[in-house]
Amino acid sequence: MTEQRKLRILIAKPGLDGHDRGAKVVARSLRDAGMEVIYTGLHQTPEMIVATAIQEDVDAVGLSIMSGAHNVLMPAVVEGLRQKGGGDIVVFGGGIIPDDDIPRLREQGVHQIFTPGTSTENIVKWIRENIKPR
């Protein structure tokens, strides 16, 4: 109708693991919370995720990684966004990520990490509190 700002979130699966159940559950919860979720499927390179985030003008990118390659892939997306003029796009992540890795990921610009057992309500709540439509 007239002005209606909506949160747009890209949910992406970088790397080689094929476990997308978590990503799909999160995508659905965000949709049910009234957000617009762009989902791009499996096996994305950081470059593809960055290009998609910019083209879709999303407010945030959620990365789901089960392969153990989070220390490489997550910072690569943050850096890629910065280089392409999307440094203001919030990056968060989830998956099987050891607690010890989290502080360093945060230092490298990943805003939040959700480990197994996090409720989808918590993810929705965090997004609502920390991300605003730009």
Binding site: M1, T2, E3, K6, D32, Y39, Q44, A51, Q55, G86
Partner: protein, 339 residues
């Protein structure tokens, strides 16, 4: 701020941001649309519609490839439905177009319908005009998976493809109204499946039957014309005498895509020929204006009622039983003129 130069240079960031502004209905976007308008009119607008699961996204993916090979830049507008309950959406059309993610000659943008019916988002026309003015050569608009009545795409696209797959039950029956009438090219996709030839035959038969029914002259005066213009279904505006082509494809392997592109180009040529006709061109301008007028009116009306909060007084008056909603609606419309 978005600069006109950045848009004209097809800078991705600026492009993407304008799409967002348009989608969210920001007033700044309208200012840019006015500046862009003189530059529009060069792109070829192609609509791709059809039942859910017919293979539209995969076909779009294949078409991007074909047009890129011909050296043309391609923008894709992919529309998916919003949930009527949460108003959220999952936009998944890109999944099938990932091979073009890094190609700078391709711009893909997903939109949610946000409650708009008709197979598109309410802002799709603006989005497409903007992409046109930015200089994208081909603009592919993929509608939501539609049933029978979601035919809005034909008012926007120069060339409309209706995609269907064989073996989806009595498929021709299901699409015989509405969507059957809007196709410039029928695509029987997944043609490696059983029943593809039957689907083609049924389509041919349907077309032969359809062509013998001439549309009656409209003698019902201008009120009915206004009704038609605003509420649709619109009369079909396209090259006179065009007989819809039927093409078989297998989206996944790319089989038949060359034939599809050929049929599309034939239609493009016929369309461009028709554009030389002053009356045709005026009919298009008329349709475009009416659509923009309708949306402007709605927007103004909404802002008068909601943002300026006149709706509150109106509800109070209704509650007091002093007057009827018809009178109040007329009064509200008269008040709009003073905005």
């Amino acid at each position: 701020m978005i600069s006109l130069d950045a848009l004209r240079a097809r800078e991705v960031r600026a492009c993407a941001r304008l799409m967002r502004w348009l989608d969210d209905g920001l007033p700044e976007a309208r200012v840019l649309l006015k500046q862009l308008y003189p530059h529009a009119g060069k792109a070829w607008l192609v609509g791709i519609t059809g039942n859910p699961g017919a293979g539209k996204s995969t076909l779009v993916d294949g078409l991007i490839q074909k047009f890129r090979t011909r050296g043309q830049t391609v923008a894709v507008v992919a529309v998916d439905p919003s949930s009527p309950f949460s108003r959220g959406a999952i936009l998944g059309d890109r999944i099938r177009m990932q091979q073009h993610a890094l190609d700078e000659g391709v711009f893909i943008r997903s939109f949610a319908t946000r409650g708009h019916l008709g197979g598109l988002a309410s802002t799709t026309a603006d989005v497409v005009h903007a992409l046109d003015a930015m200089g994208w050569d081909v603009i592919l608009v993929e509608t939501v998976g539609v049933g029978q009545d979601e035919v809005e795409i034909q008012n926007l696209a120069h060339t409309t493809l209706v995609v269907m797959a064989p073996g989806m039950g009595d498929e021709i029956q299901a699409i015989k109204a509405g969507i059957l009438e809007i196709a410039d090219v029928f695509v029987v996709n997944k043609a490696d499946r059983d029943g593809a030839d039957r689907t083609v035959r049924e389509l041919q038969m349907m077309l032969e039957l359809g062509s013998s029914v001439e549309e009656p002259e409209d003698g019902r005066g201008h009120e009915s014309q206004a009704r038609k213009d605003f509420a649709g279904p619109m009369r079909r505006l396209g090259p006179r005498g065009w007989r819809p082509r039927i093409v078989k494809t297998v989206g996944l392997t790319g089989e038949g895509l060359d034939g599809l592109v050929e049929a599309m180009l034939e239609h493009k040529k016929a369309y461009q020929e028709a554009m030389k006709d002053v009356d045709f061109k005026k009919a298009l301008l008329r349709r475009e204006f009416l659509e923009i007028f309708r949306r402007t009116l709605l927007q103004r009306g909404w802002s008068y009622l909601m943002h300026e909060d006149h709706i509150r007084e109106i509800v109070e008056e209704l509650f007091g039983g002093k007057t009827d909603p018809y009178t109040l609606a007329e009064q509200a419309v008269s008040a709009l003129g003073r905005l």
